[in-house]
Symmetry: C2
Subunit: 421 residues, 2 copies
C-alpha cells in the first residue's frame, strides 16, 4: 500500500494522518479511550502466541547482530511479560482522563469566570530502542491524554512492536476511534527518524527514549520541541548528620537493586567527617556486595577500592560500578552535583532538616530525595501509573512523564455580555 | 569595557554571566527580590527626568527613521507613563513569590512523601520591539520568578531601555542580588539576536515579543526553546442562540475599544439564521462606529460593506477593519477558526450552554471565550499582574505569560531510610 522506500513521502503521510486523528481525538469521550485500551489489552492477550512468535524473529535478529545478554533480556517476551503489557494497558485505562480536567478556576471583578483546563498537546512522536513494551505504554499514555502518536521503535524490536501495535489499532477500531491515532513507522530505515525530528508541521513534541546515540541525534537534528531525556547520572550524598543504618540500607538499595535502570546510583559523595565511620562501612558493604568502587585518593585507603579518574565523575555506568569521592561539606556535594549531575535524580542522607532544606533548594534536578533510595525514581512509584520516560529538561515536562505531562492547557472565559472599560 | 563590535564574544560573556547569576538567583530569598523591585521603582521615579531625556533621543531617532504615529506613540514616555512603569514594578514586587510554591503533595504506600514545587527556568532571553516599558516588565517578571534575564530591546527604544535598565540594576544592587541577573544587550547590532537565539549552553528559553519579522526570524534561527507568540487573529462567532444586546456590546467592544492590541477582534462569523436580525444590526453598528467591514457575498448586501478576498481570512489588521463571513452552523464556525485562527483568543456569543460547551471543547486556542469581549485577553485582566506576552504555542506556557509561567518544577521526595523492594 504505502511505498516503504520513499521515506519523506511515507513520513509526510503518517504526519498528515496523525494531525487529522489528533483533531478528532482531542474531544473523544473518556469512555471511548478507556474502552479502546481495554480492548487493546484483550487483543494483546488473545494474540500472545503471535506476539511471542514475532518476538522470536526479533530475538533471532538480535542473536545475529550479537546483542549483549542485557539487551537480549530487554528484548525478550514470554507469557509473563505479555501479561504485564496487558496489565499496563488496563492500568492506563483505569486512570482518570486528564483532558478537560479543571486545573484552577477563579472569578474576576470584571464579572468574568476563568477556568484553566487541560488539553492534549496534539501529535507526539516517540522514538525508542529495544524494549517492546514501550510500544504499548507509549501508545496507551498518548491515547489517554488525547494525543495522536507516531511510534518509532528500534530495529531490534521491529516484529514484536508490529504485533503489539496491531492490537492497539484493534482496540481503537472497537472503540470507534480513528485508527491513525496510534501509528507505527513501518520501516527500519533510520532516515525516518530524521524526518520525524523535523516534521514541525505535524508533530508537536518528540519524546526520545534511548541511549547516548539517540540523544545526540535528537539534539543535533530536532526542529520539533523535545522532552529532553538525558542519562541518569545519579548522586547519593552522605551528610555529616546521616543515620548509619538508613544510609547503609539506602545506598545498597540505590546501587544494587537493579544496576541497569536510570535511577540507579552512580556516584557516592561522603562528608569528610564521616568517612572513617559511616563512609567506610558503606564502602565495605558495597564491595562485599560485589560492586566495584572507584574512589578518590582518601577512599583508596580502604582495601578493594580502585582508583577513580576524572572520567568517573559524571559517568553513567548502568553496571556494578560506583564512583566515590570525599567532599568537605554539603556545599562541596552540591557543587559536585551541579557540575556532574544530569539533573535526573540526586539524594541526600541526613537527619539534619536544615541540611536537607539546603540540598532541596540548591540541587536543580528533576527529582531530589532525602533518605530514600534513588531506585524510586519511577512514574509507577510516584503513583502516576505508566511513564514514557523521565524528562531531565525543564521545559514543559520534568521527571516521570505520564499522561498528565503529555497535556497542555487552555483558558475558558465566561462572561454575560461583558465588555472591557 | 566590553568590546561592542565582537558580537559573539560579547554575547558569550553576557550568557556566561547570566548563567552564573541564575544559579545564585534560584534560591534568593523572596524578600530580597521584592526589595530589589521596590528599589528599582524608586530609582525609576528618581531618574524620571533622565529617562524622559533618553526617550527624547529615541523619539528623535524615530522621527528620522520616519516611524508611524502609532509606533511613535508606543515609544513615547512622559511622566505619566514613567509613573505606570513604577506602578508595574511595585505590582510585581507585591505578588507572591512563585519559586518554592508547593503545587501538589502526596504520600505513597512505600512511605515516601512527594512534593512538586516550583523552580525557576534558569536564563530567559527576551527579544522585543519598541515599547520601553517592556524593559521593566520583563526584567521584573523574570526576577520575581528567580530567572536571570537577557533583554534585547528594539533599536528604536535603545536609550530609553538603557536608562530604565540602569534603574533595575540599581535595585538589584540595593538588595544585594547579582547585578547580572538583569542584563541588557548594549548594542543595536542585529546579529546579537541571532547569537541569543542559538546560545543553548546559556539560555533556557526565548520569549519573543514583536511583529511578523521577529517571529519569522525566531522560527528560522532559534535553537533555544521558544515561547511562541504569534499574531492575534481573533474570531468572534455570533451563534444562532446569541443574545442581541450582549452581542452588540461585545462585538463593538472587541473591535473598537483598542484596535492595535492582540486581543482585538479581526474576524466576525455569523450563523446564517441570524444574519438578517442580529448580524445585520451588528454590522451596521460597526460601520456606524467607523469600522471598515469586509464581508462575504451575503454580507455585501448590507450597504457600506466592502468585498472580502481570500486574504482577509486569517488577517491581523490591528486597525479599524474587520472581516465578516456567514457560516452554516457552529461547526462551520469551528472549522473556519481551526483553519485561520492563530490560536490566541476566539469567542462565541450564545445563550445555548450546549453550543458553548461544543465551542469550548473544539476550539484549540489559548483563550476561548463566551459572551465576553476578546479585549480581556490580557494578563492583568486575568489577575496575573504584569505579563511578558501571550503565548500561542502549547509547549510549557500558553496564554498570558506572567511570573508563574516562567517557572518549571521539581519533585522533592522524603523517606526515612526507605528502600525499594
Amino acid at each position: 500500500m504505502k511505498d516503504l522506500t520513499d521515506i519523506p513521502a511515507l513520513m509526510d503521510e503518517i504526519g498528515r494522518r496523525a494531525k487529522a486523528a489528533a483533531a478528532e481525538l482531542a474531544f473523544a469521550p473518556s469512555e471511548a479511550k478507556t474502552r479502546a485500551l481495554e480492548a487493546a489489552a484483550d487483543a494483546v492477550w488473545a494474540a500472545r502466541a503471535d506476539i511471542i512468535a514475532a518476538n522470536e524473529k526479533d530475538m533471532e535478529y538480535g542473536r545475529e547482530k550479537g546483542l549483549s545478554d542485557a539487551m537480549m533480556d530487554r528484548l525478550m517476551l514470554d507469557e509473563d511479560r505479555v501479561q504485564s503489557i496487558c496489565d499496563g494497558l488496563r492500568a492506563v485505562a483505569a486512570q482518570d482522563d486528564p483532558v478537560g480536567a479543571v486545573l484552577e478556576e477563579w472569578d474576576r471583578p470584571s464579572g468574568l469566570h476563568i477556568q484553566r483546563v487541560r488539553t492534549p498537546l496534539g501529535v507526539v512522536g516517540v522514538i525508542y530502542e529495544s524494549r517492546p513494551n514501550v510500544t504499548a505504554d507509549a501508545g496507551a499514555l498518548c491515547l489517554k491524554s488525547g494525543n495522536a502518536v507516531i511510534l518509532r521503535g528500534g530495529s531490534e524490536s521491529f516484529h514484536s512492536a508490529a504485533a503489539i501495535h496491531a492490537c492497539l489499532v484493534e482496540g481503537l477500531r472497537e472503540a470507534g476511534l480513528p485508527e491513525d491515532a496510534i501509528q507505527r513507522v513501518p520501516t527500519r530505515d533510520r532516515s525516518a527518524v530524521s524526518e520525524l525530528l523535523t516534521m514541525t508541521a505535524y508533530v508537536d513534541v518528540i519524546v526520545p527514549r534511548g541511549g547516548k546515540g539517540l540523544v545526540g541525534l535528537v539534539q543535533r537534528e530536532a526542529r520539533v520541541p523535545v522532552f529532553a531525556h538525558l542519562e541518569g547520572i545519579v548522586h547519593v550524598y552522605i551528610d555529616v548528620a546521616a543515620d548509619p543504618q538508613k544510609t547503609l540500607d539506602v545506598v545498597l538499595n540505590a546501587k544494587t537493586r537493579r544496576t541497569g535502570i536510570c535511577g540507579a546510583a552512580e556516584c557516592l559523595l561522603i562528608h569528610r567527617d564521616v568517612v572513617d565511620t559511616i563512609g567506610q562501612g558503606v564502602v565495605r558493604a558495597l564491595l562485599a556486595a560485589g560492586i566495584e568502587v572507584r574512589g578518590d585518593e582518601t577512599l583508596q585507603a580502604i582495601e578493594g577500592v580502585t582508583a577513580a579518574t576524572e572520567a568517573d565523575w559524571g559517568c553513567e555506568y548502568l553496571d556494578r560500578v560506583i564512583a566515590a569521592r570525599v567532599v568537605e561539606d554539603i556545599d562541596g556535594a552540591i557543587a559536585h552535583i551541579g557540575r556532574y549531575s544530569s539533573n535526573h535524580t540526586d539524594c541526600i542522607l541526613t537527619e539534619d532538616d536544615a541540611a536537607a532544606e539546603r540540598f532541596f533548594e540548591r540541587v536543580d534536578s528533576a527529582i531530589v530525595m532525602r533518605n530514600a533510595s534513588t531506585q524510586f525514581a519511577d512514574g509507577g512509584e510516584f503513583g502516576m501509573g505508566a511513564e514514557i520516560g523521565i524528562a531531565t529538561g525543564k521545559m514543559h515536562a520534568r521527571g516521570p512523564v505520564g499522561a498528565a505531562q503529555l497535556t497542555s492547557f487552555k483558558y475558558l472565559v465566561t462572561g454575560d455580555g461583558t465588555t472591557r472599560p
